[in-house]
């Protein structure tokens, strides 16, 4: 199961590499052991309570722009 949610890091405990993320206002305890140098404000993909990858915000917005343009042109 690959369910992974894009969410924003709001709290980091350096020592334990844990913290919390915010997804649409809901806060979830998350483990950051699988990523290095996580900081508050980073965007990550969270799967089963673990952040498994960073989410590149610029890339995401760019893809959204492409999609929006497609829809507007049609």
């Amino acid at each position: 199961m690959c369910l992974g949610i894009p969410s924003k890091v709001i709290e980091v405990d350096e020592a334990f590499k844990t913290g919390r993320i915010d997804y649409l206002g809901t806060k979830v305890k998350t483990n950051f052991a699988l990523l290095d140098d996580i900081k508050i404000g980073d965007w990550v993909i969270v799967h089963a309570g673990f952040a498994i990858s960073r989410l590149d915000e610029a890339d995401a917005l760019e893809t959204l722009d492409i999609l929006r343009e497609m829809a507007d042109k049609a």
Binding site: M1, C2, L3, G4, P6, K8, Y23, L24, K29, N31, A33, L34, L35, D36, W43, I45, H47, A48, G49, F50, I52, S53, R54, L55, D56, E57, D59, A60, L61, T63, L64, L67, R68, M70, A71, A74
Partner: protein, 371 residues
Amino acid sequence: MGRASNGFRDKKVIAVLLDKIADKQDLLPARSRIMEVCGTHTMSIHRHGLKGLLEAAGVDMVSGPGCPVCITPNEFHEAALRLVTERENLVLATFGDMTRVPTRLGSLQAAVPARGSAVKIIYSPEESLALARQRRDAEVVFFGVGFETTIPSIAFTARTAEAEGLVNYSVLSALWVIPPPLKAILDSGEVRISGFLYPGHVSAIIGPAAYEFVARDYGFPGVIAGFEPGDILLGILALQDQIREGKPRVANEYTRVVRPDGNPVARALMAEVLEPKDACWRGLGVIPASGLKLRTKYSAFDAEVKHGLRIEPRASDLPGCRCGDVLRGLIGPPECPLFGRKCAPDSPYGPCMVSFEGACLVHHKYGARRP
């Protein structure tokens, strides 16, 4: 960026993408038959009603073997069942849909635990560690199942338990690696597909290079895609281009999440804690180096070793069950004679009807309808 999801689900965007897909199909000699490897792709396609829409546009989606609950042999569940029904003060922690798999001994969900024992459904592997720390009086067994998206977090629990000396904790692991079954399916020569939709989050861990062999050695196109409707449709458009150009490769349409080298930290953790093993996949049989097991250093936290479990998958003992053919993409769920009759969501016979992402359950639940 909470609005990000909405952009990838926008009705107008979806309609435009589907038109483009239909247009591209007109330039191809035949309908496109695409295998979505990952169960979460299967679920997303059905949940948003995309299967019927894609069929209308000339693209048939075929489910692949990427459903961990579907391919985990019953012998694992039976071992877990015996633990929780025969041992006192044992908490078996596992993910939700593992508890519904029917076996000769019943399902975990329907089990009556021994005194002081329980089945606990968890969302994160971390919760199983917390359980063991809280309940020193109990033996905690984490029945951890998954592909590379989940495997690093399962490895993390074993490593943490070892570091903390959490003596009342162990992992019953059923860990599956994605590239080998793809190779097995391609080697069998039975496959009738035009290309692969690769799992976005497994790829975030293993990186695009893991699939190079599919393009290079077998000549099949493939695209890594995310899970929003927009992601899936953009992925299919990219696949159609590869099919038309006749230039198979591994394209990454999920660049916002999947890096060129995946997640090296996660892979290092996996390598530290786990080692490859030959594994028996339900429906596909034994595939070399397709599974992972805990290294000897972690034997004390390996439930099979600690609790003396012997898990030896037999050939499938479900007469008439065609899950294997479904998992290999040879038939669709409705083509199984048991589908909707002997095997239905209320009374699942085979594993594809049990898992939330099983092709058969998804097909039955979301019943593709032409709009």
